[in-house]
Amino acid sequence: MTSDADTDPGLRVSNLGKTYHGAHKPLFTDLNFDLGRSGRLAILGRNGQGKSTLIKMLGGVMPPSEGSISWRMTSSWPIGFGGGFQGSLSGLDNVRFLARLYGREYKETLERVDDFAELGKALRDPVKQYSSGMRARLAFGLSLAIEFDCYLIDELVAVGDARFQRKCQEGLFEERAHRAFLMASHDVQMIANYCDRALIIESGRAKIFHDIQEAVEVYTWLRAA
């Protein structure tokens, strides 16, 4: 059986590696995988193994040391990642800026962000005054309002309280069930529920697991080791 990742990948990662300046050894090397246009890839790994780095590299926030990332579908910025906003601008101005950048109609985009992020009057405040949770809500609301083919999620649990997280999960996994996403998380229950493959990064080595339950089991043992 061939998946859409085999025939028409929306993302192709080839020989990707990352070595931080001054580091004695690479964070990971020789990472290869494809993601189909409705593929759901989990990124698993213990703290410090490079999950967030990979998400940032895929989101264009950080350059790779080697290899290539080839997108053939639109991708969000890393959700859960607080960067990317102009801190001295208000939430409204950031929405306006990003709507223009992505060619979306401002008013409609604002309505959708306001409806989802539930930031109310705080949207008029400079983003540098936002808590990390508020920044994450704004980032998440914007990514859903702009609509991407693929969502990059770095630890969804960082976004708001339990009620808001449920809202995020509905908005992402149910209302956009046909979209692709890559999700870095320690939450193996969520991974098992929503992902169909997993990439585990450990000690500089990355492996794709096509059986998500097997990946969760292996990762659980890695965490326990």
């Binding site: 585990i200 450990e202 080595r205 492996k207 339950q213 097997e214 089991e217 292996v218 043992w221 890695l222």
Partner: protein, 282 residues
């Protein structure tokens, strides 16, 4: 009926690759010696008054019907079991167990009643005082993995190739070793082969080579029957080749199962397992 059966001679002929040739030779020999060769497994209707040479694949059946071992001859030529490719694993295991059962049963007969490859190699053999048969040809030397494994019944020792076992992870078999990527969940890595073991103490010895990653994980090896067996747990702790030896006592004839398990989830690592050397220790 049983009194009549006691008067007959029995030839036990397991499902050998050359079984049809043997039947042809036995039929010719029976005619010369004024016997009627009758396939007991096909029909149990006997010609009253005829001198019968009863043919069966089951040593157990022959001994059940004929308590006098001197009236039973067990032909154990060209040890092998050939199985259809289309069988699933469970069917394959059952077929191996059933086919090997008759081989195992040969070990319960007196040695002189078993006509193995060595005795058959020199030509015509006298199965009974008045019954001589010429083998259909020189016994082929055991060459396949199954044929070699079945030598436990004739030599009390055999090499069981990894290719006879069932692997839950694809393995490459070469030069007496099976090599595989251990990555995956805790699991039974390999199991089988469900050959029927004669009663007695049987030892299984194998070596396990582990690399610098695989040596960190906990393994378990099992040897014995399907329900009852002996186990050894071990964590190699360093890369290298380790020899594992286990002994199990079959108090009754029964299917054997060897298992190698990895008890932890494995992210990375490679192992290489040697063929099993199985031998009788009593």
């Amino acid at each position: 009926m049983s009194a009549e059966l006691n008067a007959h001679h029995w030839v036990v002929l397991p499902p050998l690759p050359n079984r049809s040739h043997w039947i042809s030779r036995l039929r010719d020999a029976a005619e010369r010696a004024n016997y009627v060769l009758h396939d007991w497994d096909e029909s149990q209707d006997l010609n009253a008054g005829a001198r019968m040479m009863l043919l069966t694949i089951s040593a157990d059946e022959a001994r059940r019907r004929q308590p006098d071992d001197s009236r039973i001859a067990f032909i154990l030529d060209a040890l092998d079991i050939t199985l259809p490719d289309q069988m699933d694993q469970t069917e394959r295991h059952h077929a191996i167990q059933a086919a090997s059962r008759s081989f195992a049963a040969s070990t319960t007969l007196p040695h002189e009643r078993v006509f193995g490859p060595d005795r058959l190699a020199s030509g015509a053999v006298r199965l009974f005082p008045d019954f001589e048969v010429a083998p259909p040809g020189a016994s082929p030397a055991p060459s396949g993995a199954m044929a070699k494994a079945l030598q436990v019944y004739t030599r009390g020792e055999a090499v069981w190739s990894g290719s006879l076992l069932t692997w839950n992870t694809p393995a490459t078999h070469a030069e007496g070793r099976s090599t595989l990527d251990l990555t995956g969940r805790p699991r039974i890595v390999v199991y089988g082969p469900y050959l029927e073991m004669p009663t007695g103490r049987w030892k299984a010895v194998f070596t396990l080579s582990v690399d610098a990653y695989a040596c960190r994980y906990l393994f378990r090896a099992d040897w014995g029957g399907i329900e009852d067996y002996v186990s050894q747990e071990f964590r190699p702790g360093r890369p290298g080749v380790f020899e594992i030896e286990m002994v199990y006592d079959w108090t009754t004839q029964g299917a054997c199962e060897f298992r190698l398990l990895v008890m932890e989830g494995v992210f990375h690592g490679e192992i290489s397992m040697s063929d099993l050397i199985v031998s009788r220790v009593d």
